[in-house]
């Protein structure tokens, strides 16, 4: 595969053609924050935290680096006043849901985000979709999915599948940037299969 040459934060970076700017940056040890990205998964483009400024063909624009393909002669800036402003706001919006998430708090400190900027609506889940996509793409199990849309969007385990698949797996738990996932699982398993929790653990 051919290579492309671009500049990220002043560094000359080589990347394989077809790689995203995020992948190119990672390979060159340039850190770009993400919440919904996972190397084993298809890029999602949902959290928008990895937004960067790209200058190409004489024009500068904001793009999400997890999806935008790296190309020759791009000049990428991973931190600028506007990028930082967007990241700060995204973190503040998410902290309203998961005010105690260590991942969010740490990023929040970097970008000066105020965890109390918005009224709390503590749903804990920030809809990054890591669990949903991991379960579908890597485990091919589809035991957890999204429900509804817009501001009512939520994750939920599907009891029939979860009862069959999840006790042996639980690989999605550590992916969750908040504590919402485990709680959702415990909730659905205890509601749908009362007593099941006492029988299954011996096997795992």
């Amino acid at each position: 595969m051919s290579e492309v040459l671009l500049q990220i934060d002043g560094k000359e970076v080589r990347a394989t053609e077809g790689a995203s700017i995020l992948e190119a940056a990672c390979a060159a040890d340039v850190f770009i924050p993400t919440l919904c990205h996972h190397e084993k998964l298809e890029p999602h483009g949902g959290c928008r935290l990895c937004m960067v400024e790209v200058e190409e063909h004489g024009r500068s624009k904001l793009v999400v680096s997890c999806i935008y393909p790296a190309a020759n002669d791009q000049v990428v800036t991973t931190r600028s006043e506007q990028v930082d402003r967007i990241r700060k706001m995204i973190l503040e919006l998410l902290l309203a849901h998961a005010p105690d998430s260590e991942t969010l708090l740490e990023l929040g400190r970097e970008y000066g985000a105020d965890r109390n900027r918005f009224d709390k609506e503590a749903s804990f889940c920030i809809n990054c979709g890591l669990c949903v996509r991991y379960c579908a793409e890597v485990k091919k199990a589809d035991a957890v999915g999204f429900l509804d849309r817009g501001t009512r969007r939520d994750i939920s385990f599907i009891p029939e599948i979860a009862a069959r698949e999840c006790w042996q797996c639980k690989e999605c738990f550590p992916l969750c940037p908040t504590s919402a996932l485990q709680a959702a699982y415990v909730l659905v398993s205890s509601l749908a299969f009362p007593g099941a929790r006492h029988q299954a653990p011996s096997e795992c």
Binding site: G45, C47, I67, L93, N127, R149, T151, R152
Partner: protein, 642 residues
């Protein structure tokens, strides 16, 4: 019906249809669009058929339910040809008189024709009615002339001639060039040049290619595409087949929302009839070109009007926009080159091919060619669909065609472009309607929604309403849209309920910047527009709500107070009896007083107080005067002897 094997056979059928129709002396067209049907058009059609039969006129008079001609305010609409007499708000009871006076005697039933509200002057012919006179109805004008359920009607007005011309006289490249030359821009929202989109797909690698009709019309108050699909489905199919031929696609889709059952029914029927005539399917009219169309019903998500979300939904997955940075005309449906155009865009295609790009470009402005259909709704005298040349001013649409604001109220703003559009104030009424002109003013053409607002509309509440719509219709995938609109709605709701705080405007602006700059798709990127445009032109209303807890339009319930003016009240008991909550204390001869603890601010007392007293007052941002002391509440009526 035997399948037509050549253009000559199609022409022969057309001539036979026309010849057969020469036998009839009159035609009764009754609008059978969704609006007129809701006001009883089907009963009117049945009444005409029965009356014409009982008069023994069945062989002479052709009665048909047609597509919507747009004057929805005054439906059911009936037009009698060849005289083109237009009757408004017709009921089944009017039918015998119309048949006797107009069909038999060639006279006019004066009481059913349009009369100018001021001068009283009547306009019996459709083309003389001011609502129609200032329009340029090249696309929607055929609706009233055809029964959408009968392909013969479409053929009789020259239908599918554009397809014949494209297939037999033009190369696919020439069709693309003609559309490019016409500068037809997408009627669905963004106004992207259709010809360039087609060319991109034609040149893109990958087979098969697809052409798609976006009929997922979802803007509140908008029904242009609905009227076209219901009223003239063959025109859209013809455009789609031409598009397929031009880009090298053999499969087409119509993505239509299932909330439009009549549109679904009529388009399915049209496909069936076109297939039976050899106008769809294998080897169309012997040209060697194959093309099929599938109808896909959407499940009612506004976001599926977004091109990539629509294509994802067509693939059978959840309708969410794709995050990719590739154009869907290069990699669209199933990753194949796909041209997606709006209903109205497709309906323009046969006209352009038939009449040529030079004809089309005679309409409109330098950068916006042709006409545009708007659904004119809200506080407007003539609600309905209007088709106007690009470049007409908002003032002409609202006052000359729309007949102005009803009830003697003042114009305040016009919202164009649907939920992603913006509100324009009176100072911009002379703005020319065009894609770029509207965008520069902070609004957009969108698909053609046009909501007129009067002095009683609160602009902060308008922004709140649209944000509420968008939080519900956002797919929820990306944070700036899902969480940004959620917080914007919270703040706007607080402002309209008197809980606005200093700094709210700035916070809304900051949220807007992030939504515009960082959202995944056009829904999120344009979601702040209702706020941004109302702030730009009506900032004083935001400030009054926040700083003075005052709603200048006296529309926000939480910021309004009702009281009864003691000097004016004549203790007539009208409001006291009508108050549904028993909040008005009073008696005959005892001045009425509203108990604020019981009052729900429903406003009924304000509406029912006789205008000659005008005693119930509505205020905002100020305290109501204290009620009169108990001993001062008795009215001593002036007796006639003094």
């Amino acid at each position: 019906m035997a399948s037509l094997r050549s253009p000559e056979e199609l022409e022969l059928l057309r001539q036979e249809t026309l010849a057969a129709r020469e036998a009839t002396t009159a035609r009764v067209s009754v609008c059978a669009g969704a609006g007129c049907m809701a006001s009883g058009a089907d009963e009117v059609i049945a009444a005409f058929r029965a009356e014409i039969e009982s008069q023994g006129l069945t062989a002479d008079v052709d009665t048909k339910g047609t597509g919507c001609p747009g004057f929805c305010e005054r439906g059911p609409i009936v037009v009698i040809y060849p005289e083109e007499i237009c009757y408004l708000q017709v009921t089944p009871d009017d039918v015998p008189e119309i048949v006797a006076a107009t069909i038999k005697e060639k006279g006019v039933v004066e009481r059913l024709v349009y009369a100018d509200p001021v001068s009283g002057e009547t306009a019996p012919r459709e083309s003389d009615i001011p609502f129609y006179k200032h329009q340029e109805r090249i696309v929607i004008g055929n609706n009233i002339r055809i029964d959408p359920k009968n392909i013969d009607d479409y053929l009789a007005i020259g239908g599918y001639a554009g397809l014949v011309k494209a297939l037999f006289e033009m190369t696919p490249e020439a069709v693309v060039d003609e559309v490019k030359k016409s500068n037809l821009r997408g009627r669905g929202g963004a106004g992207f040049p259709a010809g360039l989109k087609w060319e991109g797909s034609r040149d893109a690698p990958g087979e098969p290619k697809y052409v798609i009709v976006n009929a997922d019309e979802g803007d509140p108050g908008a029904f242009m595409d609905r009227a076209l699909l219901e009223g003239n489905p063959h025109s859209i199919l013809e455009g789609l087949i031409i598009g397929g031929y031009a880009i090298g696609a053999h499969e087409g889709y119509v993505y239509v929302r299932q909330e439009y059952p009549l549109a679904v029914e009529n388009v399915l029927l049209a496909i069936e009839q076109a297939e039976a005539h050899g106008l769809l399917g294998k080897d169309i009219l012997g040209s060697g070109f194959d093309f099929t169309v599938v109808v896909h019903q959407g499940a009612g998500a506004f976001v599926c009007g977004e091109s990539t979300a629509l294509m994802t939904a067509l693939e059978g997955r959840v309708g969410e926009p794709r995050p990719k940075y590739t154009r869907s005309n290069v990699k669209g449906l199933w990753e194949r080159p796909s041209v997606l155009n709006n209903v109205e865009t497709w309906a323009n295609v046969p006209l352009i091919i038939n009449n040529g790009a030079d004809w089309f470009t005679e309409f409109g402005t330098e950068k916006s060619k042709g006409t545009k259909i708007f659904s004119l709704v809200g506080k407007i005298t003539n609600t309905g669909l209007v088709e106007v040349p690009m470049g007409i001013t908002l003032r002409e649409i609202i006052y000359e065609i729309g007949g102005g604001i009803p009830g003697g109220k003042e114009f305040k703003a016009v919202q164009t472009g649907g939920p992603s559009g913006g509100c324009l104030p009176e100072a911009l009424l002379d703005l020319q309607v065009g894609f770029d002109e509207l965008a520069q003013a902070g609004s957009m053409m969108g698909s053609g929604g046009m909501i007129v607002m009067d002095e009683e509309t609160c602009m902060v509440d308008v922004a709140r309403y649209f944000l509420d719509f968008l939080t519900d219709e956002s797919c929820g995938k990306c944070v700036p849209c899902r969480e940004g609109t959620r917080q914007m709605l919270n703040i706007l709701t607080n402002i309209t309920q008197g809980r606005g705080r200093a700094g709210d405007i700035e916070l809304l602006e900051e949220l807007s910047e992030v939504a515009v700059g960082a959202s995944l798709c056009a829904l999120g990127k344009s979601a702040p527009n209702p706020f941004l445009s109302t702030l730009a032109y009506f900032r004083d209303e935001y400030e009054a709500h926040i700083n003075e807890k005052k709603c200048p339009a006296k529309s926000c319930k939480e910021l309004v107070t009702y009281y009864i003016d003691a000097e004016s009240c004549q203790a007539c008991m009208t409001c006291q009896k009508k108050c549904p909550y028993g909040a008005i204390d009073g008696d005959r001869d005892r001045i009425h007083v509203i108990d604020p603890a019981l009052c729900t601010k429903c406003g009924i007392c304000f509406e029912v107080c006789p205008p000659r007293y005008d005693a119930v007052r509505k205020i905002s941002g100020e305290a109501a005067p204290p009620p009169p002391a108990e001993e001062e509440r008795t009215i001593s009526r002036k007796s006639k002897v003094t």
